[in-house]
């Protein structure tokens, strides 16, 4: 924690006055620390009940930071939440009011259910799949269904958080197009059709995704006088951090709290605003909140050296305004000449990390490697090189899939074997892995047994292994273990009704996997628990759509959905002596800073993603967009530059001592890289 200066101390120790404050400062100036300290002071010294103070945070990593640091002497509950978390819990608590006000919800008997992003995408892609093949929906669009589903669900969220009615999405996007044609118009109509059908069905059933939850909250709860009275009674003080990244409806929410709360303190990083792709709207926040509060300016940054701060400003100016400052490359900034292949570049970056640690005295935790594509392959390649020096690497970006963990994979394979009716049959590789894990026998013998299992007709099942030849090859002891599993499956299948999938997993977990015969790591148990939780949530939702939730879950898992993550796992990644690998965006979403930051693939175009996509446009689906305006290419160019400028400045401000860049001429696919960031660096480095 940074030592607080006098000015900061004064703010922290203000008496309980009715002040509404915005703490405005650059990255790393200590706003978040100040917010925290003020909160602690209010609770501990001013004795304000902690359940009267609403703390709104950006994401789970921030929440975790607060959790760690808000261990209070008093025992009151800490009301710390993200905007979405808040909305969910309010809808749950005040659901009777929602039901009374919202006629679209037909099934009023059950509790509200909230969809994860993945479940929402799953449901949308189911609808698209059906219509795309049969009715030629989205003709002319070159994209997979899953991708379209992601775009559509994201549009729904953006519209809801910007207070745009769902049925206007397509029209709004289409009319903003610079180049219009009939095919495109139809594509957006198709999108609207899919979304409204999906939305209608979900609402009927009392199921809400993020976007719908926001809409329902704003239309049916927040407008209700009874609710508002309750709310204002409960919330007497508000804390919020990074208000520049807030979505418009969150800004509106804070705005309407202001006259009703006793105090508020909002952290505002004026250098931020790179979260527009996720719906954040810096401009709108400025319009709404800045004038209603008193602003306290905070000065210098603690997370980066003055040189780096200067350099980051220069780079910002070069990208955003085309200004050309000159800085000489040296101890603080190293721009490595391009490698031909991306693989070479990754290896060289990893080698450089090793050298930094072995020769320059850095600790692993001093170093972060940032890559726009921090996929498992990059991770593995870097990890292996670091491992040789005994250095650990952690990937901050969540990329692992449910099926990546052998333990959860085993749960799934068993589920398939026990429910042949679901039509998801395990393949030989899966059965082999299952047998290896459960029986702890060598790969050859596991494969032999897997062959026997998979050759059964019509479905794979564990047969009696009695041919003398085979028994001999497998070994008697192993056959005994095998028979135990076989009998377990038989017994299960003899049941009249299969268990719901989550209960099935629970049963396997308790009766087989944590038996003494199987090697189980703590992390495996955690993974299994995550799987059971995901299955439960999924089943709860999908079963209401007249689908066999257990079967659909197995199918979805095989398509590579990412595994859920508990807060413990995130916590684990944030502390410890290891080198960090992350995407720039994930890194910025954390509150981390490092002495050394390594940027890879500097010449990749991924640094400047385009905001206009075939089915979406983050700038048009927002509150500050004037309906009917045309989103021009100049705007796009300006926005891309602005994004890159903001992003790199924010990253560099987290860099304490040294910045090293790497790049390759060819991308991972073997095509020439031609992004601009590398050239911006060149233009100011001498």
């Amino acid at each position: 924690m940074y030592g607080l200066d006098e000015k900061a101390k004064k703010i922290v120790e203000m008496p309980n006055a009715d002040r509404k404050i915005i703490l405005k400062g650059p990255t790393g100036c200590g706003k978040s620390t100040l917010l925290l300290e003020r909160y602690r002071f209010m609770v501990e010294s001013l004795k304000i009940p902690s359940d009267r103070i609403l703390i709104l945070l950006l994401n789970r990593t921030q929440s975790l930071d607060w959790r760690k640091k808000t261990v209070l002497k008093s025992s009151g509950a800490v009301w710390r939440t993200s905007y979405y978390g808040f909305i969910q819990s309010e809808i749950r608590t005040y659901y009777p009011i929602v039901l009374e006000n919202c006629s679209e919800i037909v099934n009023k008997q059950i509790k509200p259910t909230f969809l994860t992003f993945e479940s929402a995408q799953f449901l949308v892609s189911k609808v698209i799949d059906k219509h795309r093949e049969r009715r030629g929906l989205f003709a002319g669009v070159t994209s997979f269904t899953d991708r379209i589903a992601i775009d559509l669900t994201a549009n729904l969220v953006k519209a809801a958080t910007s207070d745009i009615p769902c049925h206007e999405i397509g029209e709004r996007l289409y009319s903003a197009l610079e180049l219009k044609d009939e095919t495109k118009r139809q594509v957006f109509r198709d999108a609207d059709g899919i979304l409204s059908a999906y939305r209608k069905k979900c609402l009927e059933l009392g199921i809400f995704d993020f976007g719908m939850a926001v809409e329902v909250y704003n239309r049916y709860l927040f407008t209700d006088e009874r609710y508002r009275e309750h709310l204002f009674r409960r919330v007497q003080h508000v804390f919020a951090d990074n208000i520049e990244e807030c979505v418009p409806t969150e800004v509106d929410f804070i705005y309407s709290l202001l006259p009703n709360v006793k105090s508020c303190m909002l952290g505002y990083n004026f250098e931020g605003g790179y979260g527009e792709a996720f719906g954040g709207n810096h401009e709108y926040m400025k319009q709404k909140l800045i004038n209603g509060c008193e602003t306290i300016e905070m000065g210098k940054s603690y997370t980066c050296s003055s040189f780096m701060s200067e350099f980051s400003e220069m780079l910002f100016d070069s990208i955003e305004n085309g200004k050309r400052g000159r800085v000489s490359e040296g101890a603080n900034i190293e721009k490595t000449p391009p490698y031909e292949l991306r693989s070479e570049m990754l290896e060289a970056a990893a080698e450089r990390v090793c050298a930094l640690i072995s020769s320059n005295g850095y600790k692993p935790s001093d170093i972060a490697i940032l890559s726009t594509h921090a996929d498992p392959v990059s991770e593995y390649v870097i990890e292996k090189i670091l491992q040789r020096q005994g250095i650990k690497l952690k990937n901050l970006s969540r990329k692992s899939r449910v099926v990546d963990n052998p333990f959860t994979q085993a749960l799934i394979t068993l589920a398939q074997l026990c429910h042949p009716d679901y039509g998801e049959h395990p393949n030989r590789d899966d059965v082999k892995a299952l047998i290896r894990l459960l029986l702890k026998i060598d790969p050859v013998r596991s494969s032999l047994l897997a062959g026997e299992v998979c050759s059964r007709k019509p479905f794979a099942e564990f047969p009696d292994v009695e041919f003398p030849g085979l028994v001999e090859r497998i070994g008697y002891h192993n056959v005994e273990k095998y028979e135990k599993i076989r009998d377990w499956i038989k017994l299960y299948k003899a049941q009249a009704v299969p268990l719901p999938i989550n209960e099935f997993f629970q049963k396997v977990f308790l009766e087989i996997l944590i038996s003494k015969d199987v090697d189980v790591l703590d992390s495996d148990i955690l993974q299994a628990k995550n799987l059971i939780d995901s299955a439960r949530t999924f089943a709860d939702v999908v079963s209401r759509f007249n689908m066999n939730a257990s079967r659909e879950f197995l199918a979805m898992v095989r398509r590579g959905i990412k595994s859920a993550e508990s807060i413990f796992e995130i916590e684990e990644r944030l502390g410890g002596d290891f080198v960090l690998l992350s995407t720039p965006v994930a890194y910025l979403a954390s509150s981390l800073s490092n002495k050394v930051i390594i940027l890879t693939s500097l010449s990749s175009r991924n640094w400047t993603p385009r905001s206009v996509k075939e089915l979406s446009n983050a700038h048009v689906l927002t509150k500050t967009w004037e309906k009917g305006d045309i989103y021009t290419e100049e705007m796009e160019e300006r926005n891309q530059k602005r994004y890159l400028a903001l992003l790199t400045r924010a990253l560099l401000k987290r860099c304490g001592e040294k910045l090293i860049t790497f790049e390759s001429n060819l991308s991972a696919n073997g095509y020439e890289n031609d992004g601009d960031l590398s050239e911006y660096f060149d233009s100011i480095l001498t």
Binding site: R132, E133, G136, G140, V141, T142, S143, F144, T145, R147, I148, L179, V187, E340, L341, R342, S343, E344, E347, D375, P376, V377, Y380, V381, K384, R401, N405, P406, Q409, N427, R428, D429, K432, A433, D442, P443, V444, R445, S447, L448, G451, R473, G475, A555, R559, G560, R605, R610, V612, K613, E614, E633, E634, A668, N669, G670, Y671, E672, E679, D682
Partner: protein, 760 residues
């Protein structure tokens, strides 16, 4: 700088506007184009933008880059951002990636590789066939076929249809016709219109590509052009980005490529080509008339490069004779314009690089009794040559890929080191194959056969270098036998007894004593731990398994790049289709045409191809373009591949089809031309296609001849004499044989009599 006529004008005078360089083979196009770029950059004349060079293959891209970089370095100029060399597809990819939304594409669209493309097309044909079984059958000449051969004919037709439709789709795309538009245009055509069928299948194929998030190579060109047309600001940006646009191998350009480059060029367009080397027309939509027309524009300055020091004067004479023959005496008068009157001149005596001279007349030609005999003779001859001249680079050119395989097999048998230039060659696919072998075994580790194959291919090298680094043919042979012995043994065992014996130790009594004593067995024993390490790796995360294999096999830089690419793609593939299995993946990796060919080649070509003495290059005539060797064998100069008269047998004609449909490709082309109202006068489409084929094959032979620097061997065969499937040597071969035996082409100053009986 050592510049010749034509080259000098380019480097010293070309500073803007339209410019065409007509060059003869060996004229040093890459050399002078690179020098020109360097000269412009040195003088800052390329500002404010860059110089763009578009060439036809990745290897050529790398060649240009290396030449320009090294020349700039020599001059002490750091300017790697001042020029950009790319293939046309690389350039188009860049353009589309700028704004994929303009053409309703997701930014993560993929370029489909040839293998997947064929898969998708086949499944589209299947889908169409299900609803149109009768229409499909109607083209086959049932009256001529027995019930048995009929089934075979249908099968054959289906497989050929894929190529026919692909050609049709390419024609549609080249004209910018979208699927629905194509169907609309063909609505009035009858049910047996091949073009109408092609339009139907085009629609299905296109839908499948789109839902898969794919573009094919033709889409890339078409869409890049569209993006530039739709968005004038983007076009403006590209015009500013590139002050000069240069197109290499311009004779192989097609309409869209020409249009794109002309749009970007903004007036400064330099095109370099040789119309006599236009050899891509029949399987792409390229057409050398675009280059020819460009050169004929009033505003185009044309420089001709006519001198070459590549070949001996004998070979130059032969090449020039061939041009003259075609132009003056070709049996089909309509084909006489297929080669332009561009004759190669040897360089002058004052030139620093002189034409090579051989002690004897370096051209030979022969007709054999069969392809097998020809191939054997070629291999014998080149072995002989290699022994006598260890410093010579050698290439054997063949018309078809299967013949490469045959020749390579022969050479391997005789211990002749060789390499293939084919994208799917063993050498280039080695990394992919090795990973494939291991995964194949990993998927079925109880199979002795798979163990044997893996061990042989991945763990025990064929010919380890001995202490002196020399390869001894005898050791290679006995090692081969020992490897076979090991393989035979492994194939028969239960693998667990070797890998995980119950008692902990391998029972050596069961291993043949003979084998136990060999070096190969010792190496095998040493590798067992690595094999077990790999087997013990959890198979649930396949991408990690692949990277682990790369680590365990101590892959080098290029191999690691390929392994990483496979690993990333596999992760993606598995999520697209969860039913992928390890065995299926292994199958894909082991097939010579696989989805990783493109990337493996990019990596391979980074090293650049450089002919090496002592290693024979085997490639198709087409792939030899742009290359040169001391000794070149032109094989299979037969009618089927090098037709001369209209009565010759033509590839592309299908005997099992009704007479009027025998050349479906030609019919489609003419149907389309008619539909588009293009001027096709009254030429019979089949005839037109034949004329085109004859012309292009004449140019192909010309390319082949001009690859040889010192020695040239021409051969063909005459097999099955008098039978229905008789195969005759090409008329060109016979003509050239006459010419050689008459001693006409021997360079002046040498005495044919004295040269007889020399080493060749």
């Amino acid at each position: 700088m050592g510049l010749r006529k034509g080259q000098r004008e380019l480097v010293e005078q070309y500073r803007g506007g339209y410019c065409g360089i007509a060059a003869i083979p060996g004229g040093g196009k890459t050399h002078c184009l690179s020098l020109w770029a360097v000269e412009m950059i040195s003088q800052g004349l390329h500002k404010p933008g860059k110089i763009l060079i578009v060439t036809y293959m990745n290897s050529a891209v790398n060649n240009f880059k290396q030449r320009i970089a090294s020349e700039l370095q020599k001059r002490g100029i750091a300017a790697n951002k001042d020029y950009f060399v790319s293939t046309i597809h690389g350039l188009c990819l860049q353009i589309i990636k700028e704004k994929p939304d303009l053409i309703s594409a997701d930014e993560e669209f993929e370029i489909i590789d040839d293998v997947n493309k064929v898969h998708i097309l086949s499944s589209s044909i299947q889908e169409w066939k299900r609803a149109n079984a009768d229409r499909f059958k109607t083209f086959v000449d049932e009256s001529q076929l027995s019930a048995n051969s009929l089934a075979k004919a249908y099968e054959e037709w289906e497989s050929k249809l894929s190529g026919v439709i692909l050609g049709a789709i390419r024609e549609f795309k080249a004209r910018g016709i979208k699927p629905l538009e194509a169907m609309e245009k063909c609505r009035g055509l009858g049910g047996t219109s091949l073009l109408k069928i092609a339009a139907d299948i085009y629609e299905i194929y296109d839908r499948k590509l789109k839902t898969g998030g794919y573009f094919d190579f033709d889409d890339m060109l078409y869409n890049a052009k569209r993006v530039l047309e739709l968005d004038s600001s983007l076009l403006e940006r590209y015009r500013k980005k590139f002050t000069f646009v240069c197109e290499d191998e311009a004779q192989d350009s097609n309409l869209i490529q020409s249009e794109i480059l002309t749009m970007i060029a903004n007036g400064n367009l330099l095109r370099v080509g040789d119309s006599n080397q236009a050899i891509c027309g029949s399987f792409t939509s390229s057409d050398f008339t675009f280059f020819k027309n460009f050169c004929e524009l009033p505003q185009t300055t044309v420089y001709s490069i006519t001198q070459s020091s590549r070949n001996t004067k004998d070979i130059i004479n032969l090449a020039n004779y061939f041009v003259r023959y075609v132009r003056e005496r070709h049996p089909v008068p309509e084909c006489r314009e297929s080669l332009l009157p561009q004759y190669i001149e040897p360089v002058g005596d004052d030139d620093e690089r002189k034409n090579p001279v051989t002690p004897e007349y370096g051209i030979k030609a022969k007709v054999f009794k069969s392809w097998e005999e020809e191939a054997a003779a070629v291999v014998m001859q080149l072995m002989h040559l290699m022994k006598a001249n260890q410093d010579k680079t050698i290439a054997v050119l063949v018309p078809a890929a299967w013949k490469i395989e045959y020749l390579v097999g022969l050479m391997e048998e005789r211990g002749v080191p060789c390499e293939q230039l084919d994208n799917t060659s063993k050498e280039r696919n080695r990394t992919v194959r090795r990973i494939g072998r291991i995964i194949d075994f990993f998927a079925l580790p109880e199979s002795g056969e798979k163990l044997a194959e893996m061990v042989n291919e991945c763990f025990i090298p064929d010919n380890p270098e001995d202490a002196a680094g020399m390869k001894n043919l005898e050791t290679i042979r006995s090692r081969k036998q020992h490897k076979q012995m090991l393989a035979d043994y492994l194939k028969g065992i239960s693998t667990e007894n070797i890998l995980y014996p119950l008692g902990g130790e391998i029972d050596l009594n069961k291993v043949p004593e003979e084998l136990l004593e060999t070096q190969v067995w010792k190496e095998f024993e040493q590798k067992l731990e690595v094999i077990k390490d790999i087997l013990g790796f959890p198979g649930t995360v396949i991408e990690k398994l692949i990277l682990y294999i790369s680590e365990k096999l101590a892959f080098n830089r290029e191999e690691r790049a390929i392994a990483q690419k496979i690993a990333s793609d596999v992760r993606y593939l598995m999520s697209q289709d969860p039913h992928w299995t390890l065995s299926k993946l292994a199958q894909e990796l082991l097939s010579s045409k696989n989805m990783f060919n493109f990337f493996a080649n990019v990596v391979w070509e980074l090293k650049g191809y450089e002919p090496k003495p002592g290693i024979v290059t085997v490639c198709t005539y087409h792939k030899s373009k742009g290359l040169e060797w001391d000794v070149v064998f032109l094989t299979s100069l037969n009618y089927a591949d090098f037709p001369v008269s209209l009565k010759d047998k033509f590839i592309g004609e299908y005997w099992f089809l009704k007479q009027e449909y025998r050349n479906p490709q030609a019919i489609i082309k003419s149907e389309l031309q008619k539909l588009m109202g293009e001027d096709i006068s009254n030429i019979d489409p089949v005839m037109a296609s034949k004329l085109e084929t004859i012309s292009e094959k004449a140019r192909l032979l010309y390319v082949g001849i001009t690859r040889a620097k010192e020695y040239l061997f021409l051969s063909g065969f005459h097999s099955n004499q008098g039978k229905r499937n008789e195969s005759l040597p090409s008329g060109y071969l016979l003509e050239l044989m006459n010419y050689i035996s008459a001693g006409n082409g021997q360079a002046s100053g040498s005495n044919p009599g004295e040269r007889k009986g020399c080493a060749v």
